[in-house]
């Protein structure tokens, strides 16, 4: 069969190659890459850590119960973040109500129902692009659409909807990824028993992917809570010494949605305001707000990781 027998790898046939040196050099290269990789990783983490420690060292001594229960003030030692954190909370509620239903529904549609054609390919591409659009662009869009056209005013509703649209692509993409992890065998089992497409989604696809979807939702909210630019664009006030209207009251009809159209501020804007003041004491307040914001974001991400871990363990296929 074979005309020419390849000669075996002997010292003579290999000629110039020095096996010992070759081995040493390859081992060296391998080692060098692991060192370079570790150094870049340490650089990234150390920068972040330095930033956080610096912020925390300045800010933590300022954090007290009063800091959370006081309104902003001209006197830095009396100022607090009450209106800011309540505002952040209210805006997040609206953001969640906008982003979760629309994002999850869109994700389910794209993954389960959308036909695989050119048109849906374009949509998918655009959703990914949308996730990379600078947030201030969303602010401009919201100013034109929600504030001027729809006359929602510079309100919690406008802010929540703006941030909701901003994080919508994240929710859609993570929903799709979560749905895609469900093996086909589970779907076939469901269809095989006579279930409809919607029953399969309702009884299997959604429950089994809810952990992944929830993770995506929390991560998107933790991104939204730190957003500043789009809210400044729609005209969020920086000095607010009152709270939005309470959503529940003792008199009929007990529930009020007045708070949606109230003016607001959020924590990053409060922080921005204090940083731009000349007095050193206000900078301390800003650092304290930054620390609170950072801890909240880290906590939210921690919860997301925990949920994902729990679900991965529970869902065995």
């Amino acid at each position: 069969m074979f005309q020419a027998q390849a000669s075996r790898l002997t010292k003579e046939s290999m000629g110039e190659v020095d096996i010992a040196r070759n081995l040493k050099w390859r081992r060296m290269k391998n080692f060098m890459f692991s060192v370079v990789g570790l150094l870049t990783l340490l650089f990234a983490i150390c920068t972040l850590l330095a930033l956080f420690i610096d912020l925390a060292l300045t800010g933590v001594p300022r954090i007290s119960a009063e800091f959370f229960t006081s309104f902003p003030s001209r006197f830095p030692e009396k100022a607090g973040i009450l209106s800011a954190w309540v505002g952040s909370l209210a805006v997040m509620v609206v953001t969640a109500f906008v982003a979760i239903p629309i994002g999850v529904a869109a994700g389910i549609y794209l993954e389960e129902y959308a036909p695989k054609n050119f048109f849906t390919k374009i949509i998918e591409l655009n959703i990914i692009n949308l996730a990379g659009v600078p947030s201030i662009t969303f602010g401009l869009m919201a100013l034109g659409l929600f504030v001027y056209k729809l006359k929602f005013g510079q309100s919690i509703l406008t802010a929540g909807m703006t941030l909701g649209l901003l994080v919508l692509p994240i929710v859609i993409v993570t929903t799709r990824e979560a749905i895609r992890t469900i093996p086909n065998s589970i779907r076939e089992a469901s269809y095989g028993l006579g279930a409809s497409h919607w029953q399969t989604i309702q009884h299997h696809v959604l429950p089994y992917s809810s952990g992944g979807i929830l993770t995506g939702v929390i991560i998107s909210l933790s991104r939204a809570i730190g957003e500043t630019a789009p809210l400044i664009t729609i005209g969020a006030l920086t000095f607010i010494a009152f709270l939005p209207t309470a959503p529940v009251s003792e008199v009929f009809p007990y529930v009020s949605f007045q708070w949606l159209s109230d003016a607001f501020t959020v924590m990053p804007i409060q922080m921005f305001n204090w940083v731009s003041r000349p007095q050193k004491e206000f900078h301390v307040n800003a650092a304290a707000t930054g620390t609170v914001l950072l801890i909240m974001t880290l906590l939210m991400n921690g919860v997301a990781i925990f949920i994902r871990y729990r679900f991965r363990r529970r869902m065995k296929w």
């Binding site: 076939e188 095989g192 028993l193 279930a195 029953q199 089994y208």
Partner: protein, 276 residues
């Protein structure tokens, strides 16, 4: 009961049936199938009777189209492509062509149950797994469900093992138990035909023999169509065997005849292990 079987006149298929007293449950008539009009044809003009309360085994080398044929029976192909079936699968007693465009695949799947190659229980409790077929149909009466679930778990030979832990996760069961759970899940809705797609290929020998005993037991109540790579399994538990090769149905007949005295050379080569 369906009509008595008459031998269809296809050139590729020779039948050697002897005296016929079994009744038809279903009949495949001149079925050709391909996933895509441009792709190669997977099933070529296949005709096959399925007798009531008998086990029919589909054997043949990998890629011969036996699983494709099985999945036609509950329209599983409809999930993935715009497929078109050429030919008929008639379901008796009303001679309904289940491949017709007018027939809803959901309706077919409610009448014909399927058990898959790999055990695929839902990540829910044992009870909920078996209950699912009933829930899909909108049945809510607890006492009826409890009774039905107990009976089908008994039919699947799993009741004694799980009766004390019906609320345990189904995924905590062993592979063989999971597969019997899947059989119970398919049985709970009284299917007219039970499709088994290599049900033991992922199981150990003991679980396999468990399932084989089960198949022999089950055919008292339900018509079974089984795809298997294990020829001994086909010989042990089937009444009729169909040998397929490259999309053609080469030979069909009572299992004892097929395995002892095949009329086609290719069948003989396959069952004696010369290829496949």
């Amino acid at each position: 009961m369906g009509p008595q079987f008459e031998i269809p006149s296809t050139s590729t298929t020779k039948f050697n049936l002897g005296v016929q007293t079994d009744f038809l449950r279903s009949q495949v008539k001149n079925l050709s199938f391909s996933y895509n009009p441009k792709e190669k044809i997977i099933l070529k003009n296949v005709s096959l009777p399925i007798f009531d309360k008998k086990v029919t085994a589909l054997i043949g080398p990998s890629g011969c189209g036996k699983t494709t044929l099985l999945r036609c029976f509950n329209r599983m192909h409809d999930l993935y492509n715009e497929v078109s079936y050429d030919g008929e699968i008639l379901l008796y007693p009303e001679s309904k062509n289940i491949l017709s465009r007018d027939v809803d695949p959901m309706e077919v799947r409610m009448r014909i149950g399927m058990v898959f190659q790999k055990p695929n229980p839902f990540p829910k409790t044992i009870y909920e797994n078996v209950a699912y077929g009933l829930r899909v149909r909108g049945i809510k009466k607890k006492s009826y469900m409890d009774e039905k679930i107990e009976v089908s778990l008994q039919q699947a030979g799993l009741w004694t093992e799980v009766k004390d832990r019906l609320n345990a996760q189904a995924t905590s069961l062993s592979g063989g138990q999971q597969q019997r759970l899947c059989i119970a899940r398919a049985l709970v809705t009284d299917p007219e035909i039970l499709l088994l797609d290599e049900p033991t290929s992922a199981l150990d020998p003991i679980s396999t023999s468990h399932i084989e005993e089960l198949i022999v037991e089950l055919k008292k109540d339900v018509t079974i169509l089984i795809v298997t790579h294990n020829l001994h399994q086909a010989a042990r538990c089937s009444d009729y065997t169909a040998f397929m090769y490259l999309g053609d149905l080469i030979e069909y007949g009572p299992s004892n005849l097929i395995f002892t005295n095949p009329s086609d050379k290719r069948t003989e080569n396959y069952i004696t292990g010369r290829f496949g």
